[in-house]
Symmetry: none
Subunit: 520 residues, 2 copies
């Protein structure tokens, strides 16, 4: 079984998506998730072009990755400077990653019109940059920009650029369909030719402008490519990049290529959801493999056939990608997910307990209401603990009130919360201000509780996300609040859903505090 | 140029999407739109299985189609009845369509496990049904269900089913990848074999469970298929069907096949949007060819290249599919981006004005503060108008106050806002409740202004997103609020940034109202 390497560029190409603006903190969380999932390479950004990315690499250096290698992205050096003097190349090296990927021009039209240098100069830029980096970085990949267009327009020159990179020591030549316009037939033909001509690993980097990026990546592997670049959920500029969430199961389950273990593959839905939540986007129900509808069956005969023999209407077993069959009968696969979670949380619970079924039912009900527990595992853990009687109340709310006031244009409003609660019958009544009502409530609640639970002094609210859920017919729109909290050693996510944003925020705040106090 | 026929099944397979429930009226509107667009065949439904579909066909009979032929869908007749007595077949004929499509089993496993008849009986069912219909309907197509799986499992039997349909007079054999699990390489190989063996037109009907449906359809055409079945926007059960909105430009612009005229192709974005609206779904920004992001460009150097030579980063001219180039305002943007925007907004402004540079500076400053204009073009347009003196104030705020109160656990908080403002010196003082403080302020502000500006009654708040921006060292965390508003014909996005969520929301709300009032 030939091994195929997965190169994730969610943090670089994916971050170019129109709606996305990852903070450094977001990027670090995605990095940790992808490392745990076990892609081979994670491209963190372009340190020479983007100061935020440089900051990310400074912080990423402190993390120890267990499965993946971190990669920094850059372009061939400027023609006006020697490679050793180019500040972008310096930034790239200062990221201190074990892998560097260099993009270079391969299409003569781009060399002339975009780079505006001679064909020979471009070859020199590629060669200089790669040989300079190869002396300083263990692995250097060459991203052959616009390769398929370039090879069609001027095959001789396009091939020269690959040979320049290869001779300079590149470890892999990644053929890019930068504009995303190449058809699968042509991808296959070109990759086969390059693999035949050059004795060096070849990769594929596809964009989805023709809605062929996943297929093009799979066809390239069938034609001899051994590295696939893409992004989680197909994020990326314009129509996005090849969606690794579909590429990976395609490679593993359809083309029988070794790329991730069976165990990791079962986490792919979770990875997809995680990135969707961090991106503050909506889940796409029809998303292949991992969408809520991907294995959902309507229609009577169809359903009875699919329940007896899932392969009648399912191309793979959904459990292999962490998904499950959805039909109008209660399913056992939901239960197995819960049991897996219970194990993940290291809770000592009998997996055959009827309470597990109770959790399945409750979970479905909560999801119907708009709760979403990916990104809010602390709330999910609390739900399980409540069902198993492992939870206790830490305080009783008597009531709170928040007042926001703005007295003229140009003035920042003031927010003040008052709260009254009791802990073991002892009342506490206090007040606090904040940058808005939720912050004021959070401050007042913490101020009231810290007297009784001093460990709450370490807890900080790290992120707060609000999403309006589409209203069903005849119902009010609901709001979902996701909160990320942290102390000195941990971070955890909680969720609240209500028609009222204050109530949804309150639920998520209370979950956050209870989670901390239960963990001790 | 070989002609490829397009067979749309949005009204049958597309209607199986989990989130969709078309009324008969919806279906008639889509029928008229698709006929105008000019697909060759429109499958209206399954009159023998669905009473709503039977009703649709009764009404569709009254319409005169100019470009398309209407098709009715059905299955092979029941084994327990002769074809002439089968009520489903009667319903099918009573739809009086010039085309009928019959689905039949081709996978021996399905014949045994789902249909539960002998292999010979299944061949008879296919043969009887098609020859009976062919005497009564001008064109009869055979949908070879699960053909690719069946051909892999038992090629001899699968081929027999095709031959049975062909001998009985079928006009086209449509090879279905019903479970959507077949890879492009296998699709190409199988279609080539069938086209070689059988002297009858072959079609392709692909599902998107492996995210390969569009590519598989294009590969099938490259391999000899002459009919492509699919749905608008890829609607359909599970992960949906082949997306005709991507298949058609792929056929026409990439494979150079004749399927729709150049003029019709320019309407394809409109067709896509129309079906999205009727489906009550959201537009998918990254949708190939027709999405808002499909030809959107970030990044300075990149943008200057794409403005000079669009083919540097665009696989086709967006105008060919009714779309257009968009230059995004982002932290990498320069003056050329702004000038493009000014043109997009149809503002009459001298692009060489020093004010353009002023906007560039202001934009960078605002982006440093955390503003993001990519989902908030209305706020950006206001910024430009303010700089060029094309903006005016519509009201002056005297002040507002919001109170949120929760008096016990389990109770949804109440939110009440009071506002005082003046319009041309006339004071207005009012109050409103809401599902949280922002909703209450929005309601109160609109209530106060509608007296003076009745056109605000049409405006609705469609989406509200909140994001906490990571705090820099020594600064307070900021909050970014994105609001999407809409009236009967337009949607627009606005943004606000502040340390205080109420202030950020206020900015975005005021921008939304000012944008509407300036547009008149």
């Amino acid at each position: 079984m030939r091994k195929i390497e997965i190169y994730d560029t969610t943090l670089r190409d994916g971050a170019q998506s129109e709606d996305i603006s990852f903070s450094v903190e977001d990027k670090l969380r995605i990095l940790a998730k992808l490392d745990k999932f076990g892609v081979h390479y994670i491209e963190g950004g372009w340190p020479g072009a983007n100061p935020k990315d440089a900051d990310f690499f400074r912080q990423a250096k402190k993390l120890k990755l267990n499965n993946s290698k971190l990669s920094a992205f850059g372009a061939t050096h400027r023609a006006s400077l020697p490679v050793s003097k180019d500040p972008s190349i310096k930034e790239l090296l200062s990221a201190r990653t074990p892998v560097v990927t260099i993009v270079g021009k391969t299409w003569d039209f781009h060399v002339r019109e975009a780079l505006r240098v001679s064909q020979q100069t471009n070859l020199d830029l590629i060669s200089n940059t790669i040989s300079y980096l190869k002396k300083r970085v263990p692995q250097v990949f060459f991203d052959a920009e616009h390769f398929f267009d370039g090879y069609k327009a001027n095959p001789e020159y396009a091939l020269k650029t690959l040979k320049a990179a290869s001779s300079a020591g590149a470890d892999c030549l990644v053929l890019c369909d930068t504009n995303g316009g190449t058809m699968p037939g042509e991808i296959g033909e070109t990759v086969r030719e390059i693999v035949r001509i050059l004795d060096i690993p070849v990769g594929i980097h596809a964009h989805n402008d023709s809605e062929c990026a996943v297929a093009n990546s799979l066809v390239a592997v069938e034609s001899g490519a051994s590295q696939v670049q893409g992004t989680i959920n197909g994020l990326g500029e314009r129509c996005g990049n090849a969606n690794l969430i579909s590429v990976i199961p395609g490679l593993k389950l359809k083309l029988k290529k070794n790329c991730v273990t069976d165990n990791k593959l079962r986490k792919i839905k979770e990875v997809s959801r995680f990135v969707t939540e961090i991106s503050n986007l909506r889940h796409f129900k029809r998303q292949p493999y991992v969408g809520d509808s991907a294995f959902a069956h309507k229609g009577g005969i169809h359903v009875s056939a699919v329940v007896r023999h899932p392969e009648t209407y399912e191309h793979i077993r959904p459990e292999r990608v962490g998904n499950y069959q959805r039909v109008l009968v209660s399913d056992l696969s939901g239960r197995s997910n819960i049991i897996r979670k219970i194990k993940d949380f290291k809770l000592k619970i009998d997996p055959d307990s009827p309470k597990v079924f109770q959790i399945v039912r409750e979970l479905k009900e909560l999801e119907n209401q708009g709760f979403q527990f990916e990104g809010a595992e602390a709330s999910f853990e609390l739900l399980i603990k409540k069902t198993f009687g492992l939870h206790r109340r830490f305080f009783d709310l008597t009531g709170f009130r928040v007042i926001d006031e703005k007295r003229k244009e140009g003035e920042t409003p003031s927010s003040e919360a008052t709260i009254m609660l009791t802990v073991d019958g002892k009342p506490e009544h206090t007040a606090a201000t904040g940058n808005g009502p939720v912050n004021a409530i959070d401050n007042a609640l913490r101020k009231a509780l810290e007297k009784f639970y001093p460990q709450l002094k370490d807890v900080k609210l790290l992120d707060y996300k609000v999403r309006v859920l589409t209203a069903g017919v005849g119902t009010k729109a609901k709001v979902r609040v996701l909160i990320e909290s942290g102390d000195k050693t941990h971070k955890w996510g909680t969720v609240g859903v209500s028609e009222n944003i204050i109530e949804a925020s309150w639920q998520a705040l209370v979950d956050s505090i209870e989670y901390k106090l239960l963990r001790g």
